[in-house]
Symmetry: C2
Subunit: 381 residues, 2 copies
């Protein structure tokens, strides 16, 4: 059967791991063997001992691991020193981000590696148990609320105390995708009053079922691959106005709006921040893609006009235990899909396989990556 290798992540501040003792046991039951690099799960809260008990072999040297494993499962895309270990025929599964790092895909093709990307899984129902982007968004949405609640000098819940009633905090969530919905649910758990806005009116029901108020703008847009299409000028103006007005009443604003492969839309302007309550908090989950707030500094927490603006990067890594648990299950489900009887069946007729296999036999197979590489070539010219 296949030998799965789980290296320790070497990217800075990355604490997640691509397999947990739970998925190791699951692989073994399927007839796979698993080799885990020493301390690969430690930062996420999974000590070597637990992997060993689950049936994995622990190895000290990554070189050893890559030599013996035929499938490498990782979180982050490989660093240059990790690419060196990859040999023809190796299968690597990770967040390869082909649209952000298309050159890496070309390198992997050249090396004769089969590159499988966890972030290009099609957003179809039967792929949901493999949908690692959704898993990580769930984690980010939860964590964003904790960051905000920890920063806000105010209680989230309504409290009836001997010293009288304390009114609940007001939370505004912009964007009701997976991260936004989880942020709404978590803020509601903590007892805040929650309002949410999304350009897609179809999410209204979901927002309301979580106990939040859905802010309405009489504008409609179509959906493109589950994401919101960019809005026309006039719509934008009215959206800005609505957001501005509700930001001024909020104690916490959590922004989650992303457009795939593009800069995140600007939703909260400096003119809005300037008028917000002092000591209110903005958590910008789009910081990695430039931010939804004009004053966000990616990777930092800044105070502007008395408002704390947090632009966290890689929040799932800060929730490494749960994030690894979910990611490892996503990887295991995909692996089992690609190798249902213990060996890989590269069935490119299958929508999921076609979505995730970026390179094979020295060739780039993934359409959007090829397009992106062509775009870059043209830009250079």
């Amino acid at each position: 059967g296949l030998v799965i290798g789980v290296p320790r992540e070497r990217a800075p501040r990355e604490r997640r791991v691509a397999a947990t003792p739970e998925t190791v046991a699951r692989y073994l039951k399927r007839g796979f063997r698993v080799i885990v690099e020493q301390e690969a799960g430690l930062a996420a809260g999974f000590p070597d001992e637990e992997y060993r008990q689950a049936g994995a072999e622990i190895v000290a040297e990554p070189g050893d691991l890559y030599r013996r494993a035929s499938v490498i499962i990782k979180v982050q895309r490989p660093l240059p020193e990790e690419i060196e270990f990859l040999q023809p025929g190796h299968v690597i599964i990770a967040f390869l981000q082909p649209l952000i790092a298309p050159e890496l895909v070309a390198v992997l093709a050249e090396r004769g590696v089969v590159a499988v990307s966890m972030d290009t899984i099609p957003r179809i129902t039967r792929a949901q148990p493999m949908d690692a982007l959704s898993s990580m968004s769930t984690v980010a949405g939860y964590k964003a609320v904790l960051l905000a609640a920890n920063e806000l000098p105010k209680f989230f819940p309504l409290m009836m105390t001997a010293a009288g009633t304390i009114r609940p905090a007001k939370v505004l969530v912009l964007g009701a995708g997976v991260a936004g919905l989880q942020a709404i649910a978590t803020a509601r758990r903590l007892g805040a009053l929650v309002e949410a806005f999304d350009t897609r009116p179809v999410v209204k029901e979901q927002v309301e079922s979580l106990g939040a108020k859905f802010l309405e703008l009489d504008v409609t847009t179509e959906e493109v691959g589950g994401y919101a299409k960019e809005l026309a000028e006039e719509h934008l103006r009215r959206e800005q106005e609505l957001i501005h007005r509700h930001c001024l009443e909020a104690d916490v604003v959590i922004t989650t709006a992303l457009v795939p492969g593009r800069r995140a839309p600007l939703l909260v302007r400096e003119t809005t921040v300037r008028e917000m309550r002092p000591r209110s908090v903005i958590v910008d989950l789009a910081a990695e893609m430039g931010g939804n707030c004009e004053l966000t500094v990616p990777g930092e927490t800044v105070v502007r006009y008395g408002v704390t603006i947090m632009g966290p990067l890689n929040l799932p890594s800060e929730m490494a235990y749960t994030a690894s648990q979910m990611y490892a299950r996503n990887v295991a489900t995909l692996l089992e899909h690609l190798a249902p009887k213990g060996e890989f069946v590269w069935n490119l007729e299958d929508e999921i396989t076609r979505g995730v296999v970026l390179t094979k036999d020295g060739t780039i197979l993934h359409g959007p990556t090829l397009e992106r590489l062509k775009e870059i070539k043209e830009e250079v010219r």
Copy 2:
């Protein structure tokens, strides 16, 4: 009528304020006047403008404030430069901590100041709306859970996701006083499984009504002034055993055990921490009094044997908005009790008045403070 002065707190890292726009309005209705030092409430989230709208006068110079006000309301006990401003006849209301800083009380008596302490309010039913220690414990208990949830790399709630079920975090709360009960309530809100231990079996019902499991030891102790009496040797051993066992299963341990005027009891030993899960979190709310965990470093977050141990100091200051709101109401209720018709009535027959008035007319009136000063004199001899 009385003129109330609200200076800006000058102690390092103190963000609270003794009056909010709400209590300013309340004082004015009672016929008091209120002077607030510039930016006194800013760090807590109350800008000058809101005090002005409530009817306060804003002054730039603290000297000015002390000269014109007859009652000074504060959070922290006065620093040397603030003591300089106090004149005979001034009434000062603050957390004076007479058992920790008895020399200050002697100084205040010498200066002919009436010293009123917010932390010696008797724990009787009719004094509850003034009970600032309870208010601050409520804040600390809430904040402790947020610190823990923010540090733990795991979700608190049970989650049913496309990637399967995520089990809820396990939280152990040691000590079920006001802070402990609030910690239990907050951890439950966030969806954790909560266990709690307290040496007083009477709190069992309260713990269970919050949805937590009460850990039982067949040991009983009497209550002394609402606090737990120190336990005898044998009881301690069995208590340690119970705590040890449940710590090993916990993701988060929150400790809240205090004995008034004494070092906090050691509940979580190094031998326990050594065996706890890696990446689990201890928040020690007794850090200020030496800590309930043997490895706590007051004011710091340390990692020992893979366990994160937080020893926060002055948590209420980090929740300055809500903490100020509650504290300001406690102060206002006490002030209205001491001066029901706009002028002070120093009725020492009244249990509350007798509890809070430390000095008057150049004399220390407060029994426990006098005893503490006598003890110190004897120690010096």
